[in-house]
Subunit: 323 residues, 2 copies
């Protein structure tokens, strides 16, 4: 399997891969890749669980469906693939009605349509709560994995980070998040077109930021056999995240780098990819691209903020939650 960064969830994945041996291949990347007549099928599955990934008090069922589909589609973006289709396996609690199921599935369908994909199948079951397992399928001629970064590559991120965490912090205090934060959490737009642009313009490795910049930089570094040197002062911070960080007395860039459930991309690009190229990206893709560090010889994540080393926390669905 592809090497992963540290974390209890990833220890589990490592143990599963070791136990399966030859019965499993390619575990640990954003997508599985299957040969399909000259192209590659990229496929990823992602489960969103009530009271783990979302609460009904926070989101409408349509938003829950959107978010769940966006999470799986984001893995295709990180491979530089096109999105073709999604399947939704839905667990429905007792007491939910047909309208509820329709609302959730409509949200998943809208997220798919946003990036040119369709819902082609699914499954429905009773269960103890809402649970949405989405499988996304797409196509690519030359996939970008996590494993291709080389020492000297620049590390860049799309968009501005931290807004989803700002929403979670607000909900955790029993408040209503700022609109920008809520929207970033509830209706993230997976970066399919930006991912394909980056794949065509030299991307050597990509990953989405579902585990947060710190943890996902660790995965990319481990898979590529390099160190990730992050200059946190450069991290683009969403305005809502800056406001929330100020309230908590945390440096905004650190707050943003430790936000999880981001669907922006972290991408390694050759040193020849410069700020002017990032402007071309932004004008075509409608989202910023910001250099936040570089790949170096070595291993692990080496983050600095204001000239001092910082150890970043990841985002772990098996750990006790702040909220």
């Amino acid at each position: 399997m592809i090497a992963l960064g540290p974390g209890r969830e990833f220890d589990r994945v490592r143990r599963v891969a070791a136990a399966l041996g030859a019965r499993a291949t390619g575990l640990g990347d954003d997508c599985a890749l299957l040969a399909a007549g000259g192209r590659l099928l990229a496929v990823s599955t992602d489960v969103s669980v009530e009271d783990v990934h979302f609460r009904l008090a926070w989101l409408s069922l349509e938003e829950i469906g959107w978010r769940a589909a966006a999470a799986a589609l984001s893995d295709l973006a990180a491979d530089g693939a096109d999105a073709d289709a999604v399947l939704v396996a839905l667990t429905v609690p007792a007491g939910a009605g047909d309208d509820d199921v329709v609302a959730l599935m409509s949200g998943a369908g809208a997220a798919a349509a946003e990036v040119g994909a369709r819902v082609v199948g699914g499954d429905l079951s009773a269960g103890p709560g809402w649970s949405v397992a989405v499988t996304a399928l797409g196509w690519t001629a030359e996939p970008i994995t996590r494993a291709g970064a080389r020492a000297g590559d620049g590390l860049w991120v799309t968009g501005r980070l931290g807004a989803p965490r700002a929403a979670l912090e607000a909900w955790g205090r029993g408040e209503v998040p700022a609109d920008e934060a809520r929207r970033a959490f509830a209706r993230p737009v997976p970066r399919l077109y930006p991912g394909r642009w980056l794949a065509r313009h030299g991307a050597r490795a990509m990953i989405d930021l579902s585990d947060g910049l710190g943890a996902d930089a660790a995965h990319l570094a481990a898979a590529s056999g390099v160190a990730a040197a992050l200059e946190l002062d450069l991290v683009p911070v969403a305005p809502a995240a800056a406001a929330e960080a100020g309230r908590l007395g945390v440096p905004p860039e650190r707050f943003a780098a430790e936000s999880g459930e981001e669907y922006e991309l972290l991408v390694a690009l050759p040193a020849g990819f410069v700020a002017e190229d990032a402007l071309a990206f932004a004008s075509v893709c409608g989202v910023t691209l910001t250099r936040v560090g570089e790949a170096r010889e070595g291993a692990g994540v080496h983050a600095r903020l204001g000239g001092s080393p910082v150890v970043l926390s990841g985002f772990d669905h098996f750990a006790p939650r702040r909220r």
Copy 2:
């Protein structure tokens, strides 16, 4: 979408398909089919939920993983496809350890290996109980859907029916099922090779019996625009099912026809497919093939037992359970 038979679960699927409109295509068949360079990708997703599809008191975690993967792979069999890969999105309850996750995933991997497929990806999340969403992917040049049966076709089933229900009835009484019944429920072998044989030998429509013969014959009939005339006296009954039916005072053939969670196939074959062809199938595939009725002009399921009409019950995960 493809027409489905009656049932509350299927009413939900119909409503979802209507609400999604153009954002969804092909809902209602065993597999979604995506064009892929001269071949078709067949893909199906299937979720198995603790206390809905299984109980921890009945099955080991390895068996739970096997069963969940077999359910998704069975949909490929019903399309006449080869199995290539599975992805497993797993929800893990608090208190479960890494060994538990490894055991479940090993079972899923073993079921995949049994039919020549590999585990290529997945996802892990905390959750209120075990839930296993498996997506199975395979390839076919000429898929067999549910929709191709014509009046005059024979309706045939693979294997012997009723053993999984016999296991559920025994567990429901607090007893240990007979070995044959337990094995049929815990480690069903999806009929990939038999499905491909049937596809190559003229199959016009196929479906697996996950909802039971009565309900799945209704789906096949609705999708094909025909009636399914079933002679229940011909239904091949597993010995464990006959014993259980005797205990309950139910005709064994009816007990078997109303068993759900079967992973045998129901197939429509042209009238020219005869008993001798079924013997050839059995000698190559190692499983019996039995004619149980025929497709006719009309609609719905028309079942007879001992010369009298019988209305068969289906198997509904949203209905209150016997057990």
